[in-house]
Amino acid sequence: MTAMLEVRGISKRFGGVQANTDVGLALPESAIRCVIGPNGAGKSTLVSMLSGHVRPDRGTIRLRGKDITSWPAHRVASAGMVRKFQRPSFYPDLTVRQNLEIAVLGSGLRRRALAVRVQEVAESVRLGDALDDPAAHLPHGRTQWLEIGLVIGRRAQIMLLDEPTAGMTPGETMMTAGLVRELVDTQGVAAIVVEHDMGFVRALEAEVTVLHLGRVIAEGPMSDIEQNAQVRAVYLGEEVA
């Protein structure tokens, strides 16, 4: 089976800091891949390179066989790989409906179909009851779901979720894991999820890529990763201890 997304040997240096070295990754259709690693491991730089916000110094990124390595962010998103940022990024002064409309308009829908699709997306991210609320009035956890809704509304084929549970309560974190799993299972999207929360990563039951100092040090199911001595030393060791 050919991978939907194929990343080969990408590297990025910022001044004196080598953020990523020779990172590779292959994502099959409708799969979830979690990217974990301690602070400074290069997770966000990796996401930025995938989303077109940062251009890699070396290596290639292929989406369904197309080389998108040097594409600008808006083209990458149009091609189906849409990013949720780590920091909050939505339209606080617009209503939830208007927020989602912007995303859905990008998929080419207009008028009646637009309204129907916005409703559908809102329900899929548990915001069906808040469509006419200003987005700024949503509690923090629900703004994260709104941001996932923006990604889904744009008809992403691959969701790039940079810390989707940052600042969430444990309950909200688990609900978010369920939400991401459900979107992947029912809508056929794939996801790359950068996370700190180990409970969340376990709940997703996905393949995990571990980054350390910009390199991939392990890859596999979470159960294997947790047994990996090197991973335990650099990362889980700190968490468990």
Binding site: H74, F85, L94, L150
Partner: protein, 345 residues
């Protein structure tokens, strides 16, 4: 709660599409706009003489203000360069009327003015927005655009008449089966009235279109919009070009209506006036731009007659009060009083 409401609304749309369309139309801004335009329509019935003579000029300022409103209200880009595009339209009209004989002249003036201004705006916008020039840097560049326009108008005296200005005759607009001579104040009034109405409706339609919504999202969070797959630089360039074209349209009609174009019309001072009109009227509303332009122009005129020495000070005070206490401007503040009517917007 709103889930149920949403359901009910969808049901009622299905059953009474006309009623639902009427309800959607009856937003605060649409009602207020109807009142303003009906009032403007009846002005010549009530007042003769000076108001009918001077209001077309103010309405053209209203169109100029709307051109800024598109950039600032929708796109979040404050421009101190609107006068530059205005004067391009004005000189185009003057030059075309002098150089092209017959019925074609005025039309060529309008067409060329709008086309040149839009093309210039597109070219400048493309470089600015591709280079991610925004916020206060964008303001500075637009200030430079006004300054350049004024300097060029002064120095290219062979074309523009320099600081002596350019006289432009009142033209006649030839339409199939109808010749509208702007020499008649009444005809000029209704031609400009119609132009203002058409521009307003056109810009409101643009506001409600997908393009308008995306422009608003760029104002709110450009990075998010870009990351949702929109080429935001391209969209801002298009908005800047449309805005430049609309400003030139107003300028072309202004030239023939006022009969005289001077380099000051392209300068920073006049551009600043436009910003003041829109800020006081309410930058989120095209109606606010019209009301601001007409209101402030009329007020300046009156104050100038009453207290020739201090009138500008009073105007400055008004600007200060609006900026400090009524951020939404006059129209925005009035419309906010009835939030239930605003929702449909």
């Amino acid at each position: 709660m709103s889930d149920d409401l949403g359901g009910t609304r969808i049901e009622s749309v299905r059953r009474h599409p006309a009623a639902a369309a009427a309800r959607r139309w009856a937003s605060g801004e649409n009602i207020a706009a109807s009142v303003v335009f009906v009032a403007l329509f009846y002005v010549p019935y009530v007042f003769a003489g000076y108001p009918v003579f001077v209001l077309p000029q103010y309405m053209l300022f209203g169109i100029l203000a709307m051109s800024l409103c598109l950039l600032w209200g929708l796109g979040g880009m404050v421009s101190f360069g609107q006068a530059a595009f205005f004067i391009v339209g004005a000189y185009s009209m003057g030059i075309a009327v002098h150089d092209i004989a017959g019925a074609l002249g005025p039309w060529a003036g309008i067409g060329l003015g709008v086309a040149i201004a839009a093309a210039a705006a597109a070219a400048v916008g493309y470089f600015l927005f591709s280079a991610r020039v925004r916020d206060s840097y964008f303001v500075l560049v637009t200030l430079a655009i006004s300054t350049i326009a004024q300097v060029v108008a002064n120095t290219a005296s062979g074309v523009t008449g320099g600081f002596n200005g350019m006289f432009v005759p009142k033209v006649a607009l030839d339409l199939p089966g109808l010749a509208l001579s702007l020499q008649s104040d009444l005809t000029a009034y209704y031609v400009v009235f119609l132009l203002t109405l058409v521009t307003y409706v056109g810009l409101r339609t643009l506001q409600r279109s997908a393009f308008g919504k995306i422009l608003v999202s760029i104002r709110e969070n450009e990075e998010r919009t870009e990351s949702l797959g929109y080429n935001t630089a391209l969209r801002k360039t298009i908005a800047f070009a449309i805005s430049g074209g609309v400003a030139a349209l107003a300028g072309a009609f202004y030239a023939t209506d006022a009969g005289f174009v001077s380099p000051d019309l392209g300068g920073v001072l006049f551009s600043t006036n436009v910003v003041v009109w829109v800020a006081i009227g309410g930058r989120q509303y095209f109606l606010g731009a019209i009301v601001g332009a007409i209101g402030i122009s009329a007020l300046s005129n009156q104050l100038n007659a009453w207290i020739p020495t201090y009138w500008q000070l009073l105007l400055g005070l008004l600007f200060f009060v609006v900026i400090a206490f009524f951020r939404r401007g006059l129209v925005g503040t009035l419309l906010a009083i009835r939030p239930s009517m605003r929702r449909a917007q």
